[in-house]
């Protein structure tokens, strides 16, 4: 009966067999969580994407920039895994070489959001009072404006290019980081050890650096992992709109965009790079869930 009422309750892990010491049980649970097939695949996907970015030569011998015009618009096959585009360039080589730009842009975006956002959140939550009020009203307004529009406004001023797009995506995520950081700081600030640190004469900068920051960073790191996937999506969207990398440089969003002109005849030009983006974004969100200590995911 209980099972019918709460169908979402997970089955107790293991079962009530022989008693195991707590530490050992925790380790075993951790190992089992790390070996979940979904997480293993996710880590593999992200590792491969990173290797593509650093050592593209290991994965493809084709040139991503100059193609063989005689071999244009070939469907995927043994020689060209992802087919070729209208200039006879190997699409797989372009995806592999494109990962450097795409991942780099996403990384810049997350770093900007993380640094600016957590600084604002830290100050706001720690200072409290009027500082908190003013900063949080600004954050509220930034959250009210859709992120994509905010990024586009920044791109308007900074101009086009991968780095500018990355900065724009980062600026749009500052408010989210600030919110999460502030929430954590408010929670930590209540703790007795903060009071103890103040009482024993530690200066506020020391309390902030040595006690508040380390104890409130966890959820922000989880958010950063999640935002990395979202940044890949946002950067590729802005590139798709034509504000990112200038041709012929390969970048995931602009690769998909280039395939638009051959949609009716060459399905692989848009479909395959898109699948790569989806795989990487899904993988980062799975990893972020594992970092967040979500044990309820069974895959």
């Amino acid at each position: 009966m209980t099972e019918l009422i709460t169908p979402v309750a997970p089955a107790p892990p293991g079962g009530p067999a022989e008693p195991v010491p707590a530490a050992e049980r925790r380790d075993r649970g951790l190992v089992r969580r790390l070996l979940r097939p979904g997480l293993v695949v996710a880590i593999a996907v992200v590792s491969v994407a990173l290797l593509w970015a650093f050592v593209p030569g290991w994965f493809t011998g084709h040139d991503p920039i100059t193609g063989v015009p005689a071999q244009n618009l070939r469907p995927p096959g043994a020689d060209h895994w992802f087919g070729t585009d209208h200039l006879g360039r190997d699409l797989f080589a372009r995806v592999v070489h494109g990962s450097a730009l795409s991942l780099q842009a996403a990384l810049i975006a997350v770093l900007i959001g993380l640094l600016a956002g957590s600084t604002i959140g830290l100050l706001s939550g720690f200072a409290g009072g009027a500082v908190d009020d003013v900063l949080m009203r600004v954050v509220d307004v930034l959250l009210a404006i859709p992120g994509l529009l905010l990024s586009l406004a920044v791109v308007t001023v900074l101009g086009f290019g991968t780095v500018n797009v990355a900065v724009a995506v980062g600026v749009a995520s500052v408010a989210t980081f600030a919110r999460v950081m502030r929430g954590e700081v408010l929670r930590v600030r209540q703790a007795t050890y903060i009071e103890a640190a103040f009482a024993s004469g530690v200066r506020w900068t020391g309390v902030l650096r040595r006690h508040v920051l380390p104890n409130s960073a966890g959820p922000v790191v989880v958010l950063a992992a999640l935002e990395f996937g979202q940044a890949i999506l946002a950067v590729s969207a802005l590139s798709f709109l034509g504000f990112g990398a200038a041709p012929p440089a390969p970048e995931w969003g602009s690769l998909i965009s280039e395939g638009r002109n051959h949609l009716a005849t060459s399905w692989w030009l848009t479909t395959l790079p898109g699948l790569v983006v989806i795989a990487v974004v899904l993988a980062t969100s799975r990893i972020s869930r594992a970092l967040g200590g979500d044990g309820s995911t069974t895959w």
């Binding site: 404006i145 308007t156 969003g253 989806i278």
Partner: protein
């Protein structure tokens, strides 16, 4: 009621003012030269005539001190005047008003679709007793938020329009041309709604009154729709307040993919031409949409859950 309205109005005005100010700070105070951007948009290596430059600077009031510029623009904006577009010379307001109906139609259709799809997925996942089906349904939302919108649109174009020839690929006339863009725009939103509602339903499902209803012999679907859904709907309602603005912003991509006219195309063109007054007008438009939708959502809260009075809505909001 009077005090409630006054307070809401003050909040709305504050959000609009703050959005305007943020846009001003971004567009005019960042270390950039608006006049250079305006003159440069013609092409590479354009020769800039100093006289023309001075004339433009004076016309847009950029030779004034920053606070004078800001106050002049704010006063104009308060009267609904957002200046003229740099690339077309048309008033920004009439450009936006002209493009808005197309996009509202698209975003409205997408919102309805997203609510139906999202709520349907979450309700089905909660209703089913088959674990594999629940797992499958709950795996859809994380997938939905990981797919680039433009990719979904292009894939639909490829299959539905080109391969099967079922629906028109582009254009903006008729209901048939609205189907694919609306689906494309709705999917990521549907995924978020499904995620939030499924979580909220799972929480509601363990409430004592669900057990009571079950003990009284209410059917599973009766409990789900009559008791759980209404209580679980509050977080979704809050989400809708944020979602509408995102749908309008998302039209930038969808309207580009499907070659439709509207706010999205206007935005894309404005950013492409670095048309600062238009972009500023669009940011304020987003704030207007946010304010209007959130006011509507606040008025709906007490209808869904009578325990929420207007006074408490305010307490939650602030």
């Amino acid at each position: 009621m009077g005090r409630y309205l006054a307070r809401r109005l003050a909040q709305a005005v504050f959000v609009l003012w703050a959005a305007f100010t943020v846009a001003f700070a971004l567009l005019y105070l960042l270390p950039s030269d608006p006049v250079a951007i305006m003159l440069d948009s013609g092409g590479e290596g354009t020769f800039v005539d100093p006289e023309q430059r001075a004339e433009l600077t004076a016309r847009y009031g950029l030779d004034e001190p920053v606070h004078v510029q800001y106050l002049t623009m704010l006063a104009d904006a308060a009267r609904g005047d957002f200046g003229v577009s740099i690339s077309t010379g048309a008033p920004v307001r009439s450009m936006i008003v002209e493009a808005l109906p197309e996009t509202l139609e698209l975003a409205g259709t997408a919102l309805v679709l997203a609510l139906v799809l999202g709520a349907g997925t979450a309700l089905a996942a909660t209703y089913t007793r088959r674990p594999w089906l629940r797992q499958l349904l709950l795996a859809l939302p994380p997938l939905g938020v990981s797919v680039p919108t433009f990719w979904t649109g292009l894939l639909l174009l490829q299959l539905v329009s080109f391969r099967w020839g079922l629906l028109p690929a582009m254009g903006d006339d008729g209901v048939r041309a609205l189907v694919l863009p609306a689906i494309t725009l709705a999917l990521p939103t549907a995924a978020v709604i499904a995620q939030v509602l499924a979580k909220s339903l799972a929480l509601t499902w363990s409430e004592p009154y669900i057990g009571t209803a079950r003990a009284k012999g209410v059917s599973r679907s009766g409990i789900l729709l009559g008791h759980a859904a209404r209580n679980a709907a509050i977080p979704v309602l809050t989400l809708v307040g944020v979602t509408v603005g995102n749908l309008v912003a998302g039209s930038v991509i969808v309207e580009t993919v499907f070659s439709r006219a509207g706010i999205g195309r206007l935005t894309q063109a404005a950013v492409g031409a670095q048309d600062i007054p238009v972009v500023q007008g669009l940011v304020v438009l987003a704030a207007v949409i946010f304010v209007v939708v959130n006011l509507a959502v606040d008025l709906v809260y007490p209808l869904v859950d009578p325990r929420i009075t207007r006074a408490r809505t305010l307490a939650v909001a602030s």
